[in-house]
Symmetry: C2
Subunit: 526 residues, 2 copies
């Protein structure tokens, strides 16, 4: 029997609050610190590991978090989710993104079909289509191969797929599976579509229109933009476009597209990178096998997330530590800091994933909660960030928990040795150094040069960023956000907060405004 309770009604909440806070600088010093780094680690899938030694936790805090996991029934709730319960209470929908990459539990039937079969079918249809495009069997009007794929979508149809593409682009080139360059058009700003169109060979480009509902304003507008550009070149838009949409959308059976691939209402936009939304563009760019490996990594991480003991479940433990930092230590933001240039847009994807899922003030029953929920998420790759905003992270007045990611090997493998070490070694040395600098600090009589330490971080360490480890990394954060939503008793799968702006924007465009909105409209010459 699952009970959905607010965090502050749980006994574990009081336990957490009453545990003595950890002196992180002290805990991470000397041999005790060395032991922590060795022991405070949980294996993830695909050779990754979640190391939380530099978090402000100890056996007592972890004990409280184990109690919380149990009392909040995190494992039971995840099981209910992947077995098809209506977890998205606001929109009364199932939440099935895990099924896009594996069968975690019982069969889930919805819309009269087995949903796992449905997602596999879409993946296979995309794979067959991509193979034909790569073989030149599906080609442009002149019978020439498509060389570029352009995704038209916004939000979850853009950030996730774009971040994954950038993460794997160099790996694919290095490993001989780079098939087509991908570009992305998202913003309704006309300069976005104009600039992308000016940068590509339109005649050899295949466009993917991605919209679940088939009604997203930005996406349909940019589709028209692209169709105009195709027609200006004397090309037939219907020969250059495919759609990724739901079966019930107006795009699903349209002659405007070479082919349509399907997602459904049980895949939230921000959870759609492993569905057809990510599948089409990634399979076209890198081939279906790369996409399949990416799904394999995500599925392997999902399997680990089923474990009820958080000490063996890296996704759940990361979630619980985050709740402790937010609700007991009172921290308002989290920085995501991948030491990998390939992950340059991964923080922007996590920003959506986390902030859109858990940036809410009411629980899953629509009742106000009286504790902080999702934090602000931001980040840039290291070492770049070190020369930018790390000053505030080290010496600012507020403490921001940090999430590092690092890999032992680079993707391309070209390197240079300066002063006896490679760039990859320098990169890794920097992330190791930062963790210890943040945790331990360093006293200095000149307070301007003093580092208090006590600034918590975790790191996910892997061998190499490749399709499988990227899938595991993505699933880790999806599952972390899900578990945090369970702790906070939120519905992490709707986004009512985006609606009011849409309604008001329509009124502005219809000139149906008064008061402040009318004056702003006038100032902007609308």
């Amino acid at each position: 029997m699952i009970n959905w309770k607010n965090l502050d009604t749980l006994d574990a909440y009081q336990t957490m609050k009453n545990v003595k806070p950890v002196n992180l600088a002290e805990a991470m010093s000397g041999e005790n610190g060395a032991e922590r780094v060795k022991n405070y680690s949980v294996p993830m899938a695909e050779g990754l590991a979640y190391n939380y030694a530099a978090k402000a936790v100890d056996e007592d805090v972890l004990g409280a978090l184990v109690q919380l996991a149990d009392e909040a029934q995190l494992a039971d709730k995840f099981e209910a989710l992947y077995n098809g319960a209506v977890i998205n209470t606001g929109e009364k929908r199932l939440v099935l993104h895990h099924l896009t990459r594996g069968q975690l539990g019982t069969n889930v039937m919805a819309d009269g079909v087995n949903k796992r079969d449905f997602y596999v079918e879409q993946q296979e249809r995309i794979a067959a289509f991509a193979d034909k495009v790569h073989a030149g069997e599906i080609a442009n009007e002149a019978g020439e191969k498509f060389t570029t794929v352009v995704q038209i979508g916004i939000g979850g149809s853009d950030l996730g797929p774009r971040a994954m593409y950038i993460a794997l682009e160099n790996w694919a080139k290095k490993n001989g599976c780079f098939k087509m360059e991908a570009k992305f058009i998202s913003n309704v700003d006309p300069d976005d579509a104009s600039a992308v169109l000016a940068s590509i060979d339109v005649a050899h480009s295949l466009f993917i229109l991605v919209s679940k509902s088939g009604t997203t304003l930005e996406t349909l507008t940019n589709e028209s933009f692209v169709k105009d550009a195709l027609r200006k070149e004397g090309l037939d838009p219907a020969k250059h476009m495919i759609a990724v949409t739901s079966k019930t959308s107006p795009l699903a059976k349209s002659d405007d597209y070479i082919e349509a691939f399907y997602m459904d209402d049980y895949i939230g936009g921000r959870y759609s990178s492993t569905s057809a939304v990510g599948g089409a563009v990634l399979s076209l760019a890198f081939g279906p096998n790369v996409f399949a490996d990416f799904l394999k990594g995500a599925a392997a991480e999902d399997q680990l997330a089923k474990e009820a003991d958080p000490m063996k479940n890296p996704d759940m433990l990361d979630a619980l530590i985050g709740v402790y930092e937010r609700n007991v230590l009172g921290y308002g933001a989290t920085a995501v800091l991948p030491y990998s240039q390939a992950l340059s847009r991964f923080p922007a994807h996590l920003q959506q994933l986390d902030m859109e899922s858990n940036g809410k003030s009411v629980n899953r029953f629509g009742e106000p909660v009286s504790y902080p929920t999702g934090p602000v998420i931001f980040g840039e790759p290291g070492t770049n960030g070190q020369h930018s905003f790390y000053q505030l992270l080290h010496q600012g007045t507020d403490i921001t928990p940090l999430q590092f990611v690092g890999f032992r090997h680079s993707q391309i493998g070209n390197d240079v040795t300066i002063e006896g070490t490679t760039s990859q070694q320098k990169l890794c040395a920097n992330v190791a150094a930062q963790i210890v600098a943040f945790a331990c600090g360093k006293p200095d009589e000149n307070l301007n040069k003093n580092f208090k330490g006590g600034r918590p971080s975790s790191i996910i360490i892997g061998d190499e960023l490749n399709p499988a480890s990227l899938g595991a990394l993505l699933a880790h954060f999806e599952n972390k956000v899900m578990f945090q939503g369970f702790c906070w008793n939120l519905n992490s799968f709707d986004q009512e907060g985006v609606q009011l702006g849409k309604v008001l924007a329509k009124r502005v465009l219809a000139h149906d405004t008064d008061g402040a909105l009318k004056v702003y409209s006038d100032l902007l010459n609308i």
Copy 2:
């Protein structure tokens, strides 16, 4: 006589705290709201305007802020700064980035020269050099024109110039002044340099090595990376590289570079976009006249920043409202949300500018302060952000103040009309709608769809993003950060918080570690 006092010792601080908070949702409703939008606006340079109607201020709050500006002697401190006082107390340096774009006060002599003349001389030397490159008088070994310019630098030598380049790239193409494509190598991750080098025609590329000290690890490492690549193509690196550095650096008189251009210790990295650091790459990419217009816009905004009355000084007023939000309302982060795809990396630059300047816990005398200083800064362009993290901004448990930027016209001018409106109109309608949605909210019986409002924002509105308005926009934020540093009694111009990580990274690379640091090093195979 200037007094440097902590914020909490000022009478104005108590006044601010005692003023009745504004009910923003109420203030922005109806005709009162319309009047606010008309009146709560201060002209900026180059046709921009700073509109603060949707900030939680009224005549009483503004009165307190005027008192604060006066008591904290903001105008006097700025005057001392541009007239050459040692404002950077930690490093005992002048702060002269304003002189890179104009003569604001008396002549400033340092290092035996008139510094304004020195900066102008560098600008002119760069202009002459760029003209020769564009004319083919300075060419590669084969006598062929350079077609690409690649900046090698990190932090302030990367983020600002990169953001400015992206901001003007489409404008320059549209207006016939696009001379050379620019690329940027920053991260010590070897995949960063590898990927950029693979994307360019090395034989026709001119590289700019940017390092004030000439000792930045990442930059020197990437220089070697590039030199190796040049040699592998049988090219002479000394024929493909210029340097931007200080006159005292080892790079200044080296035969390794075609030419060296100079900055100095009085220009902080994050304030260097208007110096030779931005000047070389922007003049090469777009021509010296575009860079001159950019400086003109920045200088015009600086002139406005001299005004002692904050109600007529947009940079000072923005700063003061931010202090009120941070120290009275208690908000921990600020989101920067430009409704312009061209400003896609502008938030990342502001993140460095703000967080590295004011993310500090000690005052300019090295004494601890007992109030919050610089906030976390993050952001992405609209409308993209609307489909991502705006959910938390609208309905999250914490309030995040917002800084919008919008332009009446796009840069490229291509557009498409859908449902009777252009994309540019849709873009502007969205930013207008968001401001009102955040401020006013909208009650709903279903609390999941309820918008409380009361979420403050300001907007900078302009006609078009071009070199001059971009310069004004940049200077606005530089001056805002400076004024906030004055209010908080910080030294906004050093960055001691980045040092400890550097020291520890060197120890890791020298295998001179123990405890936690040694175990992390082992885990990362260093």
